[in-house]
């Protein structure tokens, strides 16, 4: 493996560099902090405007119900993935060159995920009710699982960032030349607690960091998948795509590595870390970014091709908007700026420099925001009834909130690294030690005329991969009258009608007997039977007409002979017969109450969906998985805290801990 530094090049120890970075900042630092604070303040003001005037002030409307707000959340939580990659993935694969980058990368991860979580507040129409996600959750909602996944990942990120601070605080306290300042000294004493650098402490911390590394990868996968599923679990064209979850994950990785390049470059020049972070770091990160970028280009193509190829109305309308329509300019800008230019900058040897990688990364981050914006806004604008579209108009209110979020990340990082050492002291020292040992062993082996042996990280990688698959698999299951008294029948002179209702075999028989004015059975005319309903006020629903033969008209309410009607409710039901000898005659009416004993509701509920049962079980399974993750994380953190607690028993004044039990690399 290449080395971070070698004994000969090192002019400053990692402890000295970290202490130097914590000294009183220059005027430049203050200017940057003030400018960033002003931008954040403007964003907070804009949010208060949105609170006062409603979300319409941020440019939303019913055909752009989600827009820049969600793109911001996705982009910010996405870039926090960079920390997970650089720290966790490179740790698990044993890439030792990561060591000087991890603190900055993890700091960026923590800051971006916190800002991303904070951005959910202005995205919500009623932020004061957010507590209902805990008190009143709907466990079948993807948005609820977003909340669970993001908070779990956020906690894991903070733990991953904070645990190595214990040995680092101890190390800096030991190396302090009196310029650390009262506040930091007190703080570091609290953090370092009883850290003596004892073998057992190192062992427990190392195991804890490896375990959290293994967990943080599937956690990050889960966050970006669930974010994608908030879209993919709707029937909206282009959102309802199975590729969205993995595509979100790759987008997050791609933009995350780009953010690490930018942040590392910024702090490298601002804090004079050139000795630790070399152009080779940038080139390596650039390769990583390019590989992920190529993957993202592939995913984007695979996302669009099937829908555009088949040409279903809705999906192809959305893709036409995107590729050749009103969004085309922005989409092709993304293709050029977010894919072609960065990949070329990495591919061409002449631009494969620190500056080249920084330029490439500064294309990737905003362009990936643009891609997310297009992915959110284009389908949201699409009207799924008419096939037309609405539009989102970014207002100053939303733009200010977005800019505030962008400014908040470097601001938080700059403030964070006033307090926290900028290099992961302990990790770098460990890697140096490790390398020295490897070198010694290699030399010994060479001397013994053997090839240098390289241990394979395969088993570890397979283990991590299995964990990812298990968790991703678990998340993948988600997927998921009574009759009113009738008007008294008139008893007119002339023809007369009688109505009788009987029940046999559960069927209602209506029999109308009609006599003409002379009292003889009527020979002509029709009887119309009706049922009286009170569902929408008293109304007679006609059931059909029957010709009178020999003074009688009969109807059996079996559905087939009664206009599709069968009694729908038991109890007294009023039926009416109306007789007209000729068309145009004033009808004669007669009603009868039948106490219906057998009724058939006309309504048949829809058959249950095939996977309804699975959907009911899924939340339980997910809660079990999330519970396991939290228990593991908390146990791990507790073990580290326990092993580094202050022991009352013997020696070790807290002021000079970290020197015990390990060689120091301090130069004379």
């Amino acid at each position: 493996m290449s080395t971070v530094t070698t004994g000969t090049v090192t002019t400053e120890t990692v402890r000295a560099t970290s202490l130097r970075a914590l000294r009183r900042p220059g005027a430049g630092w203050w200017v940057v902090v003030l400018v960033l604070s002003a931008v954040v303040a403007l964003g907070v003001y804009a949010w208060t405007v949105q609170l006062r005037r409603g979300m319409g002030a941020a440019g939303f409307n019913d055909q752009a119900f989600w827009a820049a707000d969600i793109a911001d959340v996705i982009a910010l939580i996405g870039v926090s993935y960079g920390g997970a990659v650089v720290s966790a993935v490179l740790r698990l694969t044993g890439a030792t060159w990561r060591a000087p980058l991890t603190r900055i990368a993890e700091g960026a991860a923590v800051c971006t995920v916190l800002v991303g979580m904070a951005l959910i507040v202005p995205h919500i129409g009623n932020p004061v009710r957010l507590y209902e996600l805990v008190t009143h959750p709907n466990t079948s909602a993807p948005v609820f699982w977003d909340f669970i996944a993001v908070s779990t990942y956020g906690f894991a990120s903070v733990a991953f960032f904070a645990m190595p601070l214990i040995p680092d605080s101890a190390a800096l306290l030991a190396a302090d030349d009196g310029r650390l300042g009262r506040f930091r000294t007190a703080l570091y004493r609290r953090i370092a607690r009883g850290w003596t650098g004892a073998p057992r402490q190192h062992h427990v911390l190392g195991k804890a960091l490896t375990l959290v590394s293994v967990m943080i990868i599937p956690l990050a996968v889960s966050v970006h998948s669930v974010l994608a599923w908030a879209f993919a679990t709707t029937s909206r064209p282009w959102w309802h795509e199975s590729i969205w979850a993995p595509q979100f994950v790759v987008a997050a990785l791609y933009s995350g590595v780009a953010l690490v390049i930018l942040v590392v470059a910024g702090f490298r020049s601002g804090y004079g870390l050139q000795q630790w972070i070399t152009p080779r770091h940038f080139v390596r990160l650039g390769f990583l970014m390019a590989a992920l970028g190529a993957g993202y280009v592939y995913f984007t193509f695979a996302d669009i091709l099937p829908g555009a190829y088949v040409g279903e109305n809705a999906v192809s309308t959305v893709f036409a908007d995107l590729l050749v329509g009103r969004m085309a300019g922005w989409f092709w800008l993304f293709v050029v700026g977010g894919a072609v230019i960065p990949l070329l900058l990495v591919a061409i040897p002449a631009t494969r420099t620190t500056a080249g990688m920084v330029v490439a990364a500064s294309f990737v981050v905003p362009m990936l925001w643009l891609k997310r914006y297009l992915m959110v806004v284009t389908p949201a604008n699409h009207d799924v009834v008419t096939g037309g579209h609405g539009a989102y108009h970014l207002t100053w209110v939303r733009a200010s909130i977005t800019l505030a979020a962008v400014a908040a990340v470097p601001l938080l990082l700059m403030l964070l690294f006033r307090v926290v050492p900028i290099l992961s002291v302990d990790e770098i020292e460990e890697v140096e030690l490790e390398e020295r040992r490897t070198l010694t062993q290699a030399l010994a082996a060479l001397r013994a005329a053997g090839e240098p042996r390289v241990s394979s990280p395969a088993a570890r990688t397979v283990g991590a991969g299995l964990a990812v698959l298990l968790l991703a698999g678990a998340f993948g299951v988600l997927g998921v009258g009574r009759a009113a008294p009738a008007q008294a029948a008139q008893a007119p002179k002339g023809p007369r009608i009688e109505l009788a209702g009987t029940q046999t075999d559960g069927l209602v028989h209506l029999k109308a007997s009609v006599k003409d004015a002379k009292g003889a059975p009527a020979a002509a005319g029709t009887v119309t039977f009706s049922v009286m309903t009170t569902v929408f006020g008293p109304r007679a629903v006609p059931l059909g007409s029957v010709p009178v033969t020999k003074g009688v008209a009969e109807m059996v309410l079996d559905g087939a002979h009664s206009g599709g009607y069968r009694p729908t409710q038991v109890g007294p039901t009023e039926f009416t017969a109306s007789y007209a000898a000729q068309v145009g005659d004033t009808p004669l009416e007669r009603s009868v109450d039948v106490d219906v004993t057998a009724a058939v509701s006309a309504y048949t509920p829809a058959a249950p969906k095939p996977l309804e049962g699975v959907g009911a079980v899924t939340p339980t399974v997910l809660f079990a998985v999330v519970g396991a993750v939290w228990v593991t994380l908390l146990t791990t953190v507790a073990r580290v805290l326990l092993v580094s607690r202050r022991r009352v028993v013997r020696r070790v004044p807290a002021t000079e801990p970290a020197t015990a039990g390990r060689p120091t690399t301090q130069s004379a």
Binding site: R91, P137, K207, E430, P619, A628, T635, P663
Partner: protein, 286 residues
């Protein structure tokens, strides 16, 4: 102590025992949480039908071909829209907006002008489809969308957090957000209920089929206002439908006789709104 042990082995995998123990503990925790989760999952879907066992509608001796009539609610509200007679006057929209104090762009029942197959156009009113399997219900993170046992999909504006997930999920664009301060409501002397919601800024609103009127035997505002008798309101249980032209029909026969169809049947949402076509119209989602 030998120095070698002072260096943690970064290449170690995670501590298997810790992981296993943690998973076992969490599984136990999860198991304990099952009743709770089961309860929530249940509350999020259609209310249990046996809430209404023993109701007056229960026949003592049900026809055994009819299935479990006892498990059915008293009403199953629905709508029938007869596109043959709609002239696009939008009386329904105006009546609805007046009754619910909506802003002009909030069209709980919207009359779309659609293209027919011959290049002409026809008018298509679209209320809430009152789906039996409503996509909006599942995605609400706080369960603010509810479905009554009589099949009305309603929003509790006292719970809604304004995530708009329901707007994303609705395949009929039937949901409208209060992006700005809503109009002051007409004082009906009633508290805010899902049946007669008072619009609140930052919450979502939608057609409620005038749920407050139906139990009284009154017609929804849109049905009442339709001068063409296009809009029918019906009850699938009692098998009747009525419009304001004084007509009352046996619902099942009416739907069958007129070849009524539902909008976007293929999505499996089981809408409770039927459309009657007849003049070259096509119902097809976009």
């Amino acid at each position: 102590m030998p120095t070698t042990t002072a260096v943690p082995d970064l290449r170690d995998g995670p501590d298997r025992r810790t992981v296993l123990a943690a998973f076992a503990a969490a599984a136990a925790l999860g198991g304990a949480a099952v009743p709770l989760v089961a309860y929530r999952a249940d509350a999020a879907t259609t209310p249990a039908p046996d809430d209404h066992a023993g109701h007056g509608a229960t026949p003592a001796a049900a026809d055994d071909t009819a299935g479990p009539v006892a498990a059915q609610p008293e009403h199953a509200w629905c709508m029938v829209i007869d596109l043959r007679y709609c002239d696009g006057c939008k009386s329904c929209t105006k009546a609805c907006q007046k009754r619910h104090s909506l802003r002009p762009e909030q069209t709980w029942i919207q009359v779309f002008e659609m293209e027919d197959e011959r290049g002409g156009s026809f008018h298509m009113p679209r209320p809430c489809m009152m789906c039996e399997d409503p996509p909006c219900l599942k995605v609400c993170p706080v369960g603010a969308t509810i479905r009554t046992d009589e099949g009305l999909v309603l929003v509790d504006t006292d719970t809604c957090v304004g995530s708009r997930a329901c707007m994303a999920a609705c395949p009929y664009e039937a949901r409208y957000f209060n992006w700005r301060e809503p109009r002051p409501p007409v004082d009906l002397g009633m508290p805010n209920t899902p049946q007669m919601p008072v619009a609140r800024r930052g919450t979502v609103g939608k057609c409620v089929l005038c749920a407050d009127r139906l139990p009284l035997g009154e017609l929804p505002a849109c049905v009442e206002a339709c001068p063409m008798g296009v809009l029918w309101v019906g009850d699938l249980v009692a098998d009747v439908a009525v419009n304001t032209q004084g007509a009352s029909v046996v619902l099942s026969q009416f739907l069958a006789d007129n070849d009524a169809v539902r909008f976007k049947e293929e999505l499996g949402t089981h809408p409770r709104v039927w459309y009657i076509l007849g003049h070259g119209q096509k119902l097809q989602g976009a």
